[in-house]
């Protein structure tokens, strides 16, 4: 192409489309990932000026070192009972996930999503929050429910859309909702929960309450406008909210670079909004706990929001509908250098003399029994395959508080269809 505008010596423009480091067939190589030593990051006072901690989004807060020892200023110094409970909850999530994944493969439901490798993100946060703080999760924080003792049977009934499903067969499996456990309804439209978490927190502040809110979003969905809206509003109104970004590096088949993850860290988004950003080893339950507790303390002190990036890795597929071997090297998750959160906490407890292999195996056995018993209970109430939720008229309820005439008409029509046969 010729040009007389003085730019003739420049090469033609070209579009940069980021690519991940490895695709199927390539060697998995995480050697470029910078991992600061555990304990090496300073822990500021919660009342610190945000401008003074602009380095925190670019490092990685870690507590557990390679030997499972808790080191440095972020060590939350939890008592062994609390640590064992966190270990138990993470193990329960994994056992539950495996069981429900299998149930989906057996055709008992349509869909499931595991959180393998990311259990600490939800479990440690749940333990650092107060029981009445409000969670606005995305779809991989089942650990919040497990940690808050939500009945497994209830979770399974939702997954099965069966007669016991309190959501009346309306929601895709794992899109739980439970007000009593401070777990807001999960949306499939990603990112919507983020400004809602901020709004809930603003409500709490308007009413002079003491409860705070926490939201979770994936690395991929930070690209949504809702992310920007949420962090803008949270900063402007100093909302008592913790905004977590679960950076598991994969949005279905799309690597985090497509969400801008190669340009800077996700925690660094906080800098532009003028709020504190922490970047945390998401596979280190003690670091997740400590960062959440720090942010909760800030929020409860009227100091406003904190953005926390939880750096982790999605070990399994996005969902039962996904096969990651089609877009990334097989077993990439096993090579993830920050390890497995369950193994790391287990090793820590053993190092403290508060746990051993025998107790671990016994607990695993116990959790398996508990999950199987719950599954048996849930399946008595049906599965999606066999006797799912089937009350047709219930479909027309709770669209509005009171059913308007057009829904009453359509309900009657739907009920009439039930008995009729097509020609």
């Amino acid at each position: 192409m010729t040009s007389d505008n003085g730019r003739t010596n420049r090469p033609a423009l070209s579009l940069h489309v980021p690519e991940p480091d490895a695709r199927p067939g390539d060697e998995v190589d995480f050697s470029h990932i910078e991992i600061p030593a555990a304990g090496s990051v300073a822990r500021p006072d919660v009342a610190v000026e945000t401008a003074a901690i602009r380095d925190l989004p670019y490092t990685l807060i870690r507590v557990l070192d390679e030997n499972g020892k808790a080191v440095g200023p972020w060590d939350p110094r939890l008592d062994p009972d609390k640590l064992r409970r966190m270990l138990r909850d993470m193990m329960m999530v994994r056992v539950f996930d495996d069981r429900m994944y299998r149930a989906q493969r057996q055709g008992k439901t349509s869909f499931y999503m595991k959180s393998t490798g990311e259990e600490a993100v939800a479990v440690a946060a749940a333990h650092a929050l107060d029981r009445d703080d409000m969670c606005f999760p995305t779809y991989r924080q089942q650990g919040l429910l497990v940690s808050r003792d939500y009945p497994l049977v209830e979770m399974m009934c939702q997954i099965y859309s069966n007669r016991g499903d309190k959501l009346k067969g309306r929601q895709l499996p794992i899109m739980y909702s439970d007000r009593a456990h401070g777990f807001f309804s999960i949306s499939g439209n990603l990112g919507t929960q983020y400004p809602q978490a901020v709004g809930w927190a603003m409500g709490s502040a308007i009413k002079g309450d003491s409860r705070i809110a926490a939201g979770w979003i994936g690395d991929g969905a930070t690209a949504e406008g809702d992310f920007h809206n949420a962090v803008t509003f949270a900063g402007v109104y100093r909302a008592p909210v913790i905004l977590n970004i679960v950076n598991n590096q994969w949005a279905i088949s799309t690597f985090s670079g497509i969400a801008g993850g190669n340009l800077t860290t996700f925690a660094a988004r906080a800098v532009g909004y003028g709020i504190p950003g922490l970047r945390v080893d998401g596979n280190d339950p003690l670091a997740v706990y400590a960062a959440t507790a720090w942010a909760a303390d800030r929020a409860r002190s009227n100091l406003g929001p904190t953005l926390i990036e939880l750096f982790t890795y999605r070990v399994e597929g996005h969902s039962t509908s996904d096969d990651p071997s089609a877009y990334r090297p097989q077993d990439a998750g096993k090579a993830w250098p920050l390890g497995d959160p369950i193994e790391r906490l287990k090793q820590h407890l053993i190092g403290l003399g508060e746990w051993d292999e025998e107790r671990h195996s016994a607990l695993l056995e116990e959790l398996g029994t508990e999950v199987r018993a719950a599954q048996k209970e849930a399946e008595k109430l049906g599965t999606l395959q066999n006797e799912p939720w089937s009350d047709i008229s219930s479909m027309f309820e709770e669209v509005f508080e009171d059913m308007p005439w057009h829904l009453r008409e359509q309900r009657d029509q739907a009920l009439a269809e039930k008995g009729a046969k097509s020609a």
């Binding site: 409000m134 606005f136 309190k166 959501l167 009346k168 309306r170 929601q171 899109m175 909702s177 439970d178 007000r179 807001f184 309804s185 949306s187 439209n189 919507t192 983020y194 400004p195 809602q196 978490a197 901020v198 709004g199 809930w200 927190a201 603003m202 409500g203 709490s204 502040a205 308007i206 009413k207 809110a213 406008g225 809702d226 920007h228 809206n229 949420a230 803008t232 509003f233 402007v236 109104y237 709770e398 669209v399 509005f400 508080e401 308007p404 005439w405 057009h406």
Partner: protein, 337 residues
């Protein structure tokens, strides 16, 4: 009773509800200290404090998202979207979240949210300050859509909307904020003070959602209208000397089907009028309802009088606006068959 224009009536509805219910909060662009670009929230921040009436960033998606979060907390937010033309960044939060939250949580999290927004043309606002997007919201399961046509109704309907435990989209025809506009744009504007519906009680009252009003009784033809077009319909009927019955729908979802059926079965003719674009407009739904329910009473095809299927123009406003000429022709057509 006192004389109020629509803005004063809407302002009064806010005032009454903020006084009655401490969970009522008002948020939106310029609604705080300044009191809104149309002054609908004037004086409220001073009276109720900045934690209950506050300015927001220019982010309609954010306004909707946080309003839903506040409603989930237990507040009763009233969110102003400065112009209906600006509502689209908030569409996902309204459609996918607010509208379905009661359903998807099996009643655990109803969203008692009122979304107010000035809409419609006739003010030389061009294509970003004149749109009538009501059909987009009427199409969504779980939303109520309300459009008042006068000060008395505006206040009573807004109070009912705020008290409603479901999300309500409340579109305010901005062309008639200060006076009833009958579409004869070359004539001087009459103020609300000369209209009986500007007699508005100062305190609490409601006009129920889902109930239409007969704005002009008649026997020759039914005109289904809402918002500004109610006034255009009355004036056109009178100018044409046609004894039309003008039904002011007031709420389009849920629509008052009894009022529609009753009138059309009586007159045997039906003309539907709205400012919005024609294709897929709410008039299409009304036309289908009339056809389904009143077919054997109809003497003539149902007619639609609407804005054209173009973006709203600036200089050609009156060629676009479905005024007395377009409506008059449709009425004559309906009467000739």
């Amino acid at each position: 009773m006192s004389k109020m224009n629509m803005i004063e009536a809407i302002n009064s509805a806010h005032d009454v509800m903020m006084e009655r219910d401490p969970n009522t909060v008002v948020l939106g662009e310029d609604v705080g200290y300044f009191g809104g670009v149309f002054r609908a929230t004037a004086g409220l921040q001073k009276k109720y404090g900045s934690s209950r009436v506050f300015d927001t960033p220019i982010a309609e998606g954010g306004i909707m998202g946080v309003a839903i979060g506040m409603a989930a907390y237990g507040m009763r937010p009233i969110a102003e979207i400065q112009f209906a033309d600006y509502i689209y960044p908030g569409f996902d939060q309204i459609v996918s979240e607010a509208a379905r939250m009661r359903f998807r949580t099996a009643g655990e999290w109803p969203i008692a949210l009122t979304i107010r927004s000035p809409y419609g043309g006739g003010i030389f606002g061009g294509q970003t300050h004149s749109q009538s997007p009501e059909a987009l919201f009427a199409h969504v399961a779980g939303l109520k859509v309300v459009i008042p046509s006068n000060p008395y109704d505006a206040k009573g309907l807004l109070i009912a909307a705020i008290e409603d435990n479901d999300p309500v989209v409340f579109f305010e025809p901005k062309r008639i904020y200060n006076g009833p506009f009958d579409g004869f744009y070359e004539r001087p504007v009459t103020p609300w003070a000369k209209h009986p519906s500007s007699e508005v009680p100062e305190g609490y009252y409601t006009v129920p959602l889902g109930k239409a009003a007969i704005a002009r009784p008649g026997s020759d033809v039914t005109i289904l209208a809402y918002g500004t077009m109610v006034h255009v319909a009355i004036a056109t009927a009178e100018a044409e000397g046609i004894d039309a019955e003008v039904i002011d729908l007031r709420t389009i979802v849920p629509v008052d089907i009894e009022a529609i059926e009753q009138s059309v079965k009586k007159t045997g003719r039906c003309v539907i009028v709205h400012e919005a674009t024609r294709t897929g407009g709410f008039g299409a739904e009304l036309s289908a309802l009339v056809q389904e329910r009143c077919f054997y009473h109809l003497e003539a095809p149902v007619q639609r009088v609407t804005g054209w299927d173009t973006p709203y123009p600036h200089s050609l406003e009156w060629a676009y606006f479905p005024g007395p000429v377009r409506l008059g022709l449709a009425l004559k057509n309906a009467m000739e068959v």
